[in-house]
């Protein structure tokens, strides 16, 4: 009996291509003037995060940073609803109230993207406590960038995870830049796994140009974390574009950018799949074309979708059935109409 062919690397290539195509369309959305948020952070160059998301299972939870589109696609996010959310439309994941930096989907375990650097990291500690107490076997992963390595709350959270032996992974996608500040200008000793080991975590660094290397490290860390040995994974990548859409990266040289873009996880995966005989150039072209078509449709959907009604602004501040915020007009009406003595 022959083993079933290992299609996972090809699937990971497909997911990475879908992420890249998605991000390219997000850029178009912005250029069309159709994105709701003025702040869009693309993860092009960081697609090997799929190696980590692929080591997760249904029922696992995660939080992301502000550059989290790719991570969510890796966990099954629907590009059309994501794009609609980025455009601030009613049928987006959050009804058009969160946008690019606050996408979440409870059903897929996405506990929320976060626009405060490091803000979502401690939530996985709580999710880890919940999973531990329920003995659910669920893993919770915090995704963040190298910028968050400067935030104290990361170290508090890593300490707690180690202390309480929680099923948690801290995944740092090191794209070399916190906004315009390169890692060597923000870290005294940029040995991030070393920092995590200092707290008692299992830790690894993986080459962010090689999705299979990331996956191998992630798989081992995930297995250990589910057993109560939490971990830290650094994905060593390069942010191909600026911090946000308007950022032309004047703080780094064209030579550095060219060098960084040579570490393209998609190009590497494509070459490896072809040389290993796992896919023909035609197969890969077909995957690329399908991704492009899917994301074109997501973009068209987002542009055509309806904006939320104005009344939506007062919903979800508090749970349904509990006192809602009083609209300003109602507050003033109480003064202007019944505020006069008869």
């Amino acid at each position: 009996m022959t083993a079933a062919p290992n299609t996972a690397p090809l699937d990971r290539y497909r997911t990475m291509r879908r992420i890249r195509s998605f991000e390219e369309r997000v850029g178009e959305l912005f250029l069309k003037g159709e994105s709701a948020g003025s702040m869009l952070h693309l993860s092009i160059g960081e697609e090997a995060v799929v190696g980590m998301t692929d080591a997760m299972r249904p029922g696992d939870t995660f939080t992301t940073h502000h550059r989290g589109h790719g991570i969510f696609i890796g966990r099954g996010g629907d590009p059309a609803r994501m794009m609609a959310e980025i455009a601030g439309k009613a049928d987006g994941y959050c009804g058009g109230k969160g946008g690019s930096m606050h996408i979440a989907d409870r059903a897929l375990g996405h506990l929320g993207a976060n626009a405060i650097v490091g803000g979502g990291i401690p939530h996985v500690v709580g999710a880890g406590i919940a999973a531990r107490n329920a003995r659910s076997g669920a893993l919770s992963v915090a995704f963040f960038g190298d910028g968050a390595m400067g935030q104290g709350i990361l170290y508090e959270a890593m300490n707690m995870a180690a202390l309480w032996r929680l099923p948690v992974i801290f995944c740092c996608i090191n794209n070399q830049y916190g906004m315009g500040t390169r890692v060597d200008r923000s870290a005294g000793l940029p040995d991030f796994p070393g920092r995590a080991r200092g707290f008692g975590l299992m830790a690894a660094r993986a080459d962010g140009a090689e999705v299979e290397a990331v996956h191998e490290a992630a798989r081992d860390l995930a297995a250990a974390a589910r057993e109560g040995r939490p971990g830290f994974l650094e994905i060593d990548a390069y942010r191909f574009h600026g911090h946000a859409r308007m950022d032309k990266s004047p703080y780094r040289s064209p030579e550095e950018e060219a060098e960084g873009r040579r570490r393209d996880p998609l190009a590497r995966a494509r070459a490896r799949l072809a040389s290993a005989g796992m896919a023909t150039p035609g197969d890969l072209d077909a995957i690329d074309a399908a991704a492009a078509a899917e994301m074109d449709a997501a973009l068209a959907h987002a542009v055509a979708a309806e904006a939320p009604p104005l009344s939506a602004m007062f919903a979800d501040v508090y749970a349904p059935g509990t006192p809602a915020p009083r609209p300003q007009a109602a507050r003033l009406a109480a003064i202007l109409s019944e505020g006069a003595r008869a």
């Binding site: 058009g96 409870r106 929320g112 803000g119 508090e156 300490n159 979800d316 749970a319 349904p320």
Partner: protein
């Protein structure tokens, strides 16, 4: 009905809530083995074990952050901030995470957690352990806020907070833990979000909360000796808050003051005074007065500490002025 202390009432609320719902967990500094800095959680770790009564390292941001994550994933955490003064450390997790998740995520992810803490003066704990920072919380949409003044409310506001689907901050008062009163676990003083009239009166309305309710009641007794009947209303909940009883009372009396222990500028008292002035303008016989703490850090010297916050004597003098326009000696 039992006679007990404010401290024991809080402990009883935690114990009953944990018995009733295995999803309730406690997380905070010294909540387990030590039994709480003010003895509130004594013995709970023996009863419920370290998985549910979690002694945390001194990491306020991550304590609150872990509670947020636990609340998102099915638990009902009670995080403890040993002193409300430490809120500055944890404010991002409170104001940007707990408060905003439901809204930002389009109603998908609620954060049903309680943040228990305590504040206020009375123990010469000085500038970083004595503040009244409720205005910080009240200013953030998405956070509920309760501040018990009585033994019965120390129990019921916490139980009610634990039944809310959204984050609730409960600020106890360090000066009230040893106070005795009556606890009826079957009868809250009022429904969630409703103020309670602690003393009825026809001449003026005194609005207060937390420990200032007791100062206001003492002042009302002295005013009664002068023939002035003050109505004392305890807010109990600051969010949600039913304004109606306050408005109704002021429209009857025509005179009101709002009393807080917090530095008066930018305080909860300022907000409520503004609301009452807007809604009762035609009924007002006198301006709505605000009585609050001095706009200074809390000093450690006991006499200075006492003098920095409103006293029953001050409330009395202000009440007498509202009704008789008699200017107290210190203001002449």
């Amino acid at each position: 009905m039992t006679r007990t202390t404010y401290r024991e009432a809080v402990r009883q609320a935690l114990l009953d809530a944990m018995e009733a719902d295995p999803a309730v967990i406690l997380i905070g500094e010294e909540v387990g083995l030590y039994g709480g800095a003010y003895g509130v959680t004594k013995g709970l770790i023996d009863r419920f074990g370290p998985d549910r009564v979690i002694d945390a390292p001194i990491s306020e941001p991550a304590i609150v952050g872990a509670a947020v994550g636990a609340a998102m994933t099915g638990l009902r955490p009670v995080a403890e901030l040993m002193y409300v003064d430490f809120a500055g450390l944890a404010m991002d997790q409170l104001a940007n995470q707990a408060a905003k998740s439901r809204f930002m995520f389009g109603g998908q992810i609620g954060v049903p957690m309680v943040l228990r803490t305590q504040g206020g003066t009375g123990r010469s704990a000085a500038a970083q352990h004595s503040q009244s920072l409720e205005a910080w919380v009240l200013h953030v949409p998405g956070l509920r806020l309760a501040m018990p003044a009585t033994v019965n409310d120390a129990y019921h506001l916490l139980r009610q907070a634990l039944a809310q689907p959204d984050p609730v901050v409960v600020i106890e008062h360090k000066g009230l833990y040893a106070e005795k009163g009556t606890l009826d676990v079957d009868a809250p003083d009022a429904p969630w979000g409703c103020p309670a009239v602690r003393r009825a009166g026809r001449d003026l309305t005194i609005v207060a909360y937390s420990r200032m309710v007791h100062e206001a009641l003492a002042a009302a007794e002295r005013l009664a000796q002068a023939g002035v009947e003050a109505e004392v209303i305890d807010l109990r909940c600051l969010n949600p808050m039913d304004e109606r009883p306050l408005v109704d009372s002021l429209r009857r009396t025509g005179r009101a003051m709002v009393v807080t222990e917090a530095a008066v500028t930018g305080s909860v008292a300022s907000e409520i005074a503004a609301m009452l002035s807007e809604r009762c303008f035609d009924w007002l016989e006198e301006p709505v007065l605000r009585l609050g703490g001095e706009d200074i850090p809390i000093p450690v010297a006991p006499a200075l500490e006492r003098a920095s916050i409103p006293s029953a004597a001050l409330i009395h003098d202000a009440g007498l002025w509202l009704v008789t326009r008699r200017v107290p000696g210190w203001a002449a």
